[in-house]
């Protein structure tokens, strides 16, 4: 009898441990002091055992040593005097096949399209290739190993991505140590540019900007007063939710519910809370893998609040799985939908994309196109032997680079100058329809929460 109890207790303990491991995914968000190549203290252990300073100064971690030994090979490439063009690669890092792939695949395709067109033009001094690394589901803890693969290939001179904030946070120090430039087309956690990585750039507005404009738009533009904000506890979701809660309050709205829930199948408790709170807006700050499920379970209980979400929700799966429950939902995004743009360059891009892939260009496609072309310009300017250093120098000193989504100049923290644009999209007949820029939709009153 006693042994039996002991056995049950042991089994229970194992279950608890297993559960704890499952729930460990979401890392808390705190900012760290600026400095070269530091791993944010709370990031998954990309450089095990090494404290941030140790990693930066003593190169104690394996990652740092690997980068140090590689650096010479990269900065002084063995200029083999072959007549064929040297192969140079642009890396891409993001979820290409997992649950969040709908937020990443079209960016990867756009980058590939840009590279194909650059090669076809014939004026590139090198032969350019894309090296896309698939970080299934976009989890932070699997990203460093893939980043290391890009770093250890000397042909890789720049990285488009990483796609998500958690991935970016976990890999920023590695890219920095390797002197490899990474420009993200979609990682929007505001803290990412506070870590002081000189190699990291961001080609779109942050969650703080987006959340600030969203909150003001909900209260002033839509005239809604009772807002429930749910986040998925990811770096991205919690950051965006915090910004929205603040701006809703600043605009005079009422946050009736503000909770985090890790992605799950059973949203009963949160749906009941939203119903009990009598919210008239349900905002989900998370990813499109989970948003439609929450939305459907809420609609299943005949909840009538307007469903809203950020850029993380605006993937292909939201429309696919949400189906009829989506109709009328409003999603905001710091990204430009090239299909809805009146700019001829954007229209040409959208047409080229459709011709090549047989589908319309999805989320972050314009931003990824811009980032890829930025790198292509950097490579072109360096002649036959672009190095990681020449690319980094070119990107760092970028001046008035005209892209589809915006004109790029960097602030001192490597954000886009005057890049604080949030677009509002509504689901109409199962498609995303552009309503306009959030700042223009507020009925005359200007957004106050944007920095």
């Amino acid at each position: 009898m006693k042994r039996r109890r002991l056995f049950v207790a042991a089994v229970v303990a194992m279950g608890l441990v297993a559960l704890a491991c499952q729930n460990q995914k979401a890392g808390p968000t705190t900012s760290s002091a600026a400095g070269d190549c530091r791993t944010p203290p709370t990031a998954p252990p990309a450089t095990p055992g090494a404290s941030p300073t140790a990693a930066a100064k003593a190169s104690a971690s394996p990652a740092a040593t690997a980068a140090a030994t590689l650096a010479p090979a990269v900065t002084s490439p063995a200029a083999s005097t072959t007549s064929t063009k040297k192969v140079v690669k642009l890396g891409f890092l993001g979820d290409l096949s997992g649950g969040n792939a709908g937020l990443v695949v079209s960016a990867e395709k756009s980058a590939a399209l840009a590279i194909d067109q650059a090669n076809a033009k014939g004026d590139l001094p090198v032969s350019l290739q894309i090296d896309a690394k698939d970080n299934k589901d976009g989890t932070a803890d699997t990203a460093p190993a893939l980043a290391q693969q890009l770093i250890s290939d000397p042909a890789v001179v720049g990285v488009i991505g990483p796609a998500f904030s958690g991935e970016t946070k976990a890999t920023g120090a590695l890219f920095c140590q390797a002197g490899l430039t990474d420009v993200t087309q979609s990682a929007t956690n505001p803290a990412l540019t506070t870590y002081g990585w000189p190699t990291f750039f961001r080609a779109l507005a942050t969650d703080a900007v987006q959340g600030g404009q969203d909150g003001a738009y909900i209260v002033k533009g839509l005239g809604k007063k009772r807002i429930a904000v749910i986040n998925d506890k990811s770096d991205y979701g919690s950051g965006l939710a915090a910004a929205i809660v603040k701006s809703v309050k600043d605009s005079g709205g009422n946050v009736v519910l503000n909770q985090g829930i890790e992605p799950t199948t059973d949203y009963t408790t949160i749906v009941d809370s939203v119903l009990a709170a009598k919210a008239d807006v349900l905002y989900y700050a998370g990813y499109d893998k989970d948003a439609p499920l929450l939305e459907k379970q809420y609609r299943q209980k005949l909840g009538t609040a307007l469903f809203m979400g950020g850029d993380g929700d605006k993937g292909t799966n939201f429309l696919k799985e949400g189906g009829a429950a989506d109709e009328g939902a409003i999603l905001t995004c710091p990204c430009l939908d090239p299909n809805a743009s009146s700019d001829p360059a954007a229209q040409k891009f959208a047409a080229d994309y459709k011709a090549k892939y047989g589908e319309i260009a999805g989320i972050y496609s314009a931003e990824a196109w811009d980032v890829a072309n930025m790198f292509i310009a950097a490579i072109k300017s360096a002649g036959a032997n672009p190095t990681r250093k020449s690319v980094l120098d070119y990107i760092t000193n970028l001046k008035d680079f005209k892209g589809l989504s915006k004109t790029f100049n960097w602030t001192s923290t490597h954000e886009v100058v005057a890049g604080d644009i949030t677009y509002v999209y509504k689901v109409v007949n199962g498609k995303y329809t552009l309503l306009g820029k959030a700042a223009d939709l507020m009925g005359g009153s200007t957004p106050s929460a944007t920095p």
Partner: protein, 305 residues
Amino acid sequence: MPACLTSELPFRIIGGLSSGGVYALIAIGYTLVYGVLQLINFAHSEVFMSGILAGTLFLGAFVPAGGTGSPLLLVAAVIPAMLTSGLLAVTIERIAYRPLRKRGAPRLAYLISAIGMSLFLQYTVQVWRGVNPEEFPNTIQPAAWFRFGGVDVFNKDVIVILSALAMVVALEAFVRRTKTGRALRATAQDAEAAALMGVNIDRIIMVTFFIGGALAGFAGLLFGMNFGRTQWNIGFLPGIKAFTAAVIGGIGSIRGALVGGLVLGLMENVSAGCFGTQWRDVVAFVLLVGVLMLRPTGIFGEKMA
């Protein structure tokens, strides 16, 4: 009084009974097997998952993607879901446990074998169906059926609660009234004596696994209907929760599984209302530890009902 114990309470009670009903059905599988073999079948979460998957595949053949099929299809899906899960549970017993039993292997060997089986099944489904979640075809139009404590009660919750209760009652009747049920109780009490009295132990063990599996399959169908999704690892959390429910109620007892499941579901939902959803799982396992410390045999004790 906080709102979670006053105005919100009716929401939490319905939600709690609804999750609790599913936990109870899965918990019965743990409890039956434990009652007969003193073994925790950790592959039981995957038996549950196979039920959802069978339901998805069956309904997917009739319901167009994104559409709503007839509720009769859901009734029809009970058969493939329960059969698939029941047969899978029997197969697991044949492959992973019987060879160990014949050799008189130590208890730990069963546990390792169970975990191996569980992982094998999860990753087989992952390879087969992919990592991404699949939609569970919808067959029930949402509707509010009646009001309880000032809030609407929705059809899916009522279906889950009533059919879970009906299943447990039917199982009790089976165990109490039928010859096989008596043999099952006899085996649980003393396997050797039962064998001497002419009970075919291997057959009873197979029946036990089949019933436990079939109920998990039924629970899977309810889960899929209520939450609308399936995935290779979907069984993990409900499986662990159901195991918790079985221990809380008293592992080995059928009524214990029901009471444990409902108590766990209610506690989870009420506490989620009071402290926030992130506390839901914390409270569930605090409850488990509390029960193990104060009453290690659970509410109903370790006896087969």
